[in-house]
């Protein structure tokens, strides 16, 4: 028997996974730009549907921005594990000696980096386009940064549970939208308050608390979901 090479450490493995996922995304730079463009186009849909009057739009801006961020996350969540499931990588991941809890976290982190983080960083541009008052922009970015992380984690649960189904496409929205709602409510409330001049700190704190909870629990649910999906 060859002397047994030790399996790579958990941290190293997770970093390799993260790098793999980011490389996959970067192979098609278009995939990274897409959520942003999607964001911009849906921003453009609202004036077209609701009328271009600036005051009206401004009133709705926090809600609209948050709803779009949510949709854009929803749309991409489905793909987190799908391609890995389809080409058999997911089975292999389940067989890996490293703890699934952490590998799953690497997948979610990659997803958040290429959707949530980018979205939060460019959101000020879109905010200006639909006349969100400039004072609220800081809060918007902060709430998106925290909130999209929660969304990615929760979306991962839905993705894990539906990945084994032949066409999971919209089922996922059904499963995870209810969990998205609290994030949406507090996120848009934070921005709304910032517009009105009320300090948005408490709302942001609530979202941060949700994030802590999600980081602790969602990977467990995701790991369980993946095991079930691969087995089905």
């Amino acid at each position: 028997m060859k002397e047994q090479a030790a399996a790579p450490g958990t941290l190293g493995f997770c970093l390799a996974l993260l790098r793999r996922q980011l490389t996959l995304a970067a192979r098609r730079p278009i995939e990274i730009g897409n959520p942003l463009l999607f964001f911009m186009m849906v921003v453009a849909l609202f004036p077209l549907g609701l009328g271009p009057s600036p005051e009206k739009l401004a009133g709705f801006a926090p809600g609209i921005l948050w709803i779009i961020a949510l949709l854009s996350n929803l749309l991409t969540s489905d793909t987190v594990f799908r391609s890995d499931f389809e080409d058999g990588s997911l089975e292999q991941l389940l067989l890996a000696p490293q703890p699934l809890f952490l590998s799953v976290l690497a997948y979610i982190a990659a997803h958040w980096l290429i959707t949530g983080l980018l979205l939060a960083l460019v959101s000020p541009v879109f905010a200006l386009m639909i006349n969100l008052p400039a004072v609220a922009i800081g809060t918007l970015v902060a709430s998106l940064l925290l909130g999209t992380a929660v969304l990615s984690l929760v979306g991962g649960i839905g993705a894990a549970l539906t990945v084994g189904l032949k066409r999971g496409g919209m089922l996922i929205s059904l499963l995870i939208l209810p969990f998205y709602m609290p994030v949406l409510i507090f996120g848009s409330a934070a921005v709304q308050n910032a517009v009105l001049g009320v300090p948005p700190g408490p709302y942001l704190a609530i979202i941060a608390a949700m994030l802590c909870l999600a980081v602790a629990l969602a990977p467990l649910a995701i790991a369980a979901g993946l095991r079930i999906s691969v087995d089905a």
């Binding site: 047994q4 090479a5 399996a7 192979r27 098609r28 067989l95 590998s103």
Partner: protein, 209 residues
């Protein structure tokens, strides 16, 4: 049909199966299957299409966890290669091996190049994997065998889409693994031409044809 396969060469069993029964789609695929896989043994699971070979291998690997009765003891790290290649089309063969999700070991760039050369992909290390032919695509996955230190291999139809030369090389590799004290459990519809003893486990239930 209770099946009892005699054990391999020696040492402690890498895998032990006790009283395994499986029913799928209303048909009993196997019943009271008991066997051990000892170091140095090569076990070929045989059976017609639909006999339950894949189902058995997935149970052995631990990917299927319910729907069957009986007990499987895994006593060593294993490497499983299934019907799906687990090769990402967007990554190059090199990246596919370096960042493989099975997390078996960290491989140096040299090792990876050598493994790829051995499966006949010299010069294709940095081509995007979706530009490979069906057989080349599967070969990327098989390169893992050259890198693996796992004592137990579970291979589900490893020869699919591989040409004659490739099959012969793969057979040599299996013999090597057996000779260095590893064990191989594989399914295949082809007759193995290897220079070591092959145990057969045949699942007779299958197509009614």
């Amino acid at each position: 049909m209770p099946a009892q396969v005699p054990a391999g060469t020696g040492g402690e069993a890498l895998l032990a199966v006790h009283d395994l029964c499986l029913e799928r789609g209303g048909r009993e695929l196997f019943r009271d299957l008991c066997f051990e896989v000892l170091p140095g043994s090569l076990l070929q699971v045989e059976g017609a299409n639909g006999a339950g070979k894949t189902s058995l291998l997935r149970i052995l690997a631990g990917l299927s966890r319910y729907g069957f009765t009986g007990r499987v003891e895994r006593r060593a790290p294993l490497l499983y290669i299934g019907h799906l290649p687990a090769v990402k089309a967007l990554l190059t063969p090199r990246e596919n091996l370096a960042w493989h999700v099975a997390g078996e070991a960290v491989h140096s760039n040299d090792e990876i190049e050598r493994a790829l050369a051995k499966v006949g992909l010299y010069g294709y290390e940095d081509v995007s994997s979706h530009a490979l032919s069906a057989g080349q695509h599967r070969r990327v996955n098989l390169a893992r065998l050259y890198l693996s230190h796992s004592p137990l291999w579970l291979l589900d139809e490893p020869f699919t889409a591989i040409d004659k030369g490739g099959v012969a090389e793969l057979e040599n590799l299996l013999v090597e693994q057996v000779q260095r004290g590893g064990a191989v459990v594989l399914t295949s519809h082809q007759q193995l031409r290897v220079a070591c003893q092959v145990q057969a486990l045949s699942l007779t239930e299958g197509l009614v044809a």
